[in-house]
């Protein structure tokens, strides 16, 4: 097992640069998720770690070794692809044993290692089948099995679950996590699904447009997003963003959204009158009756999910979402009041998007 570090890594295709100087360091045994919207350069970054794309500039280390000029097969990594990339003309066994065959390992060792991997993944019955005779989830497992038989230094995953249906995705998510607990192999996992990132990662790297926006543990990112992009990207439904300016009220600092409509902002050093964006997660908005404290809002629609209720409403001319554990059943146009839980508001600079 090994650490991985990326130093000012850049990538250009022709004249367009798609990765603009990325610094990430991944500790030995860590499970790191690269997450970001489509086209932000996650796969490109992963493929550079794998050695499938040339590094235009910067350095990549696996362990202590600079791998910029080292071929994929010598990097001691394994990769799981989105479409699994199982060799269609080989049985499951041969798929898993292929790398060992190429390396000239003995038949016995091949058998042992494949059997072990198959046992871990519950694939014992399928070893003689061809990929086309397997279900999506089983194929996914074979792809994982092919990676783990090699006992590599680093696992690389490129959206391995996106071809599965929702239920299977949740199940495989857990399985991959468990596998990691067990093998403790350094893993880099690419996804565009922030829930996957939140549930699986030790550390999340949020990317956007070829830049790293923020690196941190899932809950850090959730609670202390560094900027508007991360705040909006992590969490579902997304954080509410409300433009306004800072004021001081009797109950402390607040953001004025409209002439007589202010929401608590929590303590801040910024001066009154500064333009800010107030970010509040839906579950941090308290729904009160019409007579209670908070800002008045008009319900647009109520969506009960069973576990909780999402209430979408219009407040000071903007749409906001609130989530409550209680089973509210407001009719549209019902008037309610919303308030921010204490200490749960984030303030962002509207120009730079950075957190204040």
């Amino acid at each position: 097992m090994a650490s991985v570090s990326l130093k000012q890594v850049r990538k250009s295709f022709g004249h367009t640069e798609v990765v603009h100087g990325v610094d990430v360091s991944i500790d030995d045994g860590e499970f790191v998720v690269l997450v970001g919207p489509s086209g932000c350069g996650k796969s490109t970054l992963l493929r550079m770690i794998a050695g499938l794309e040339e590094i235009t500039d910067g350095e990549i280390y696996i362990g202590d070794r600079l791998v910029n000029a080292i071929a994929p097969k010598q990097r001691d990594i394994a990769m799981v692809f989105q479409n699994y990339a199982l060799y269609p003309h080989m049985t499951v066994f041969d798929n898993m044993a292929f790398s060992m065959k190429l390396a000239g390992r003995s038949k016995r060792e091949q058998r042992e290692r494949v059997d072990e991997a198959a046992r871990i993944l519950g694939l014992e019955e399928y070893l003689e089948r061809f990929p086309r005779q397997l279900s999506g989830g089983q194929r996914q497992r074979v792809a994982m099995g092919r990676a783990i038989v090699r006992k590599p230094q680093v696992f690389l995953f490129d959206e391995p679950l996106s071809n599965l249906d929702a239920k299977l995705r949740v199940q495989m998510r857990t399985e991959i996590r468990e596998l990691h607990q067990r093998l403790k192999t350094t893993s880099v996992y690419v996804t565009h699904d922030q829930i996957e990132a939140m549930t699986m990662a030790d550390k999340i790297v949020v990317m956007n447009g070829g830049h790293v926006e923020q690196i941190g543990s899932p809950l850090d990112l959730y609670d202390y997003p560094a900027n508007l992009f991360v705040a909006g990207f992590i969490g579902s439904p997304a954080m509410n963003f409300l433009h306004g300016s800072l004021v001081t009220t009797t109950s402390g600092r607040a953001v004025r959204l409209a002439p007589d409509c202010t929401l608590a902002a929590g303590p801040t050093e910024e001066p009154d009158g500064r333009k800010v964006v107030l970010g509040v997660r839906p579950e941090h908005l308290v729904i009160n009756g019409p007579a209670a404290a908070g800002v008045e809002a008009e319900v647009i629609v109520t969506e009960p999910t069973g576990a909780d209720t999402q209430v979408f409403c219009r407040m000071a001319g903007r749409e906001v979402a609130a989530i409550s554990r209680e089973r509210h059943l407001f009719a549209p146009t019902t008037r309610i009041r919303l308030d921010v839980m204490e200490g749960k508001a984030c303030l962002f600079d509207p120009e730079t998007g950075q957190r204040l």
């Binding site: 050695g51 990097r75 990594i77 990769m79 003309h89 790398s99």
Partner: protein, 289 residues
């Protein structure tokens, strides 16, 4: 080619007589015209000369079938040798072309080296160069290289039209193999050569069969080079031999000519019947780009 399950759809709206007029009768006419020459070829091959040259009777049937024409063909002419020449030349030039094409197609389509796109286009253009503008300069070359009247002349020149065709066809097949398979194999530790032999080629087997049988048919059918570069009777190929040797002056031995044409068509027809799907895939694949 995926044989799609054809839905009956709105066919129920069409009455049977209408279908006869718009579909079945035209189709039967087409089939009749397309197949009649073969019937005629076969019939003539078994007709004794007396029946052939008499103007009475029903020409569409044979009264006393005879194998005389075949006997004459195989005993009195060099037909067996022509057949053997054609087989050797077709098989060797097909294999040579296929081997060269596999490498070329893989390089152009998968290695993506500098200039591979231009080369791909050049291959396509080479495919469009017709033998009828090449045979004169090739004849002078063949002569200078001392290959005139030898099989080598044909084995070396047939690839000029086989390689572009096979390469173009195989490029299409290679393109359909996902890149990730090769990348995965790279990570698994395979060399380029191992990727080609253990991943790409096994997956391109249908393409190889298509290209192979198409190339074989093309070389079997080739005429102008064989007509130009070969002069001794025993070195000829079937198409050239039949047309140049079975016609003596103004006396046409129609029976033997037809027997020769029939026997000469059989190998490709038999191979075709086994591999129709591949053949059609090859033909339409080359056209569809």
């Amino acid at each position: 080619m995926a044989e799609k399950e054809q839905r009956e759809g709105m066919h129920y709206l069409e009455s049977l007589p209408r279908r006869w007029v718009t579909v079945y009768i035209p189709l039967l006419l087409f089939l009749f015209v397309l197949l009649f020459p073969f019937y005629w070829m076969g019939l003539t091959a078994f007709k004794p000369d007396a029946e052939l040259l008499s103007s009475g009777g029903n020409p569409f049937w044979v009264m006393e079938p005879t194998l005389e024409h075949f006997r004459k063909l195989f005993i009195d002419t060099s037909y067996p040798e022509w057949m053997w020449n054609t087989v050797i030349i077709s098989v060797v030039s097909t294999f040579v072309s296929l081997a060269a094409s596999v490498f070329a197609a893989y390089a152009i389509e998968r290695l993506r080296f500098k200039g591979s796109r231009q080369l791909g286009l050049a291959i396509f253009l080479a495919y469009l160069v017709p033998p009828s503008i090449l045979f004169i300069p090739l004849a002078t070359m063949v002569f200078q290289l001392g290959m005139f009247d030898s099989r080598w002349a044909l084995i070396l020149t047939y690839p000029t039209f086989l390689i572009p065709f096979c390469t173009w066809l195989l490029m299409g097949y290679f393109r359909s193999i996902p890149f990730e398979l090769e990348e995965c194999a790279l990570i698994d530790g395979a060399t380029r050569w191992q990727i080609l032999t253990r991943i790409v080629l096994p997956l391109a087997v249908p393409g190889l069969i298509s290209a192979g049988i198409f190339a074989f048919t093309l070389s079997w059918n080739e005429f102008i080079y064989a007509l130009t570069f070969i002069s001794a009777s025993e070195n000829k190929t079937v198409p050239v031999g039949v047309i140049t040797e079975l016609v003596e002056g103004d006396v046409y031995h129609w029976g033997s000519l037809m027997a020769g044409a029939l026997v000469g068509s059989l190998p490709v027809a038999v191979m075709y019947s086994f591999f129709v799907e591949y053949y059609v895939a090859g033909m339409t694949g080359a056209v569809k780009e």
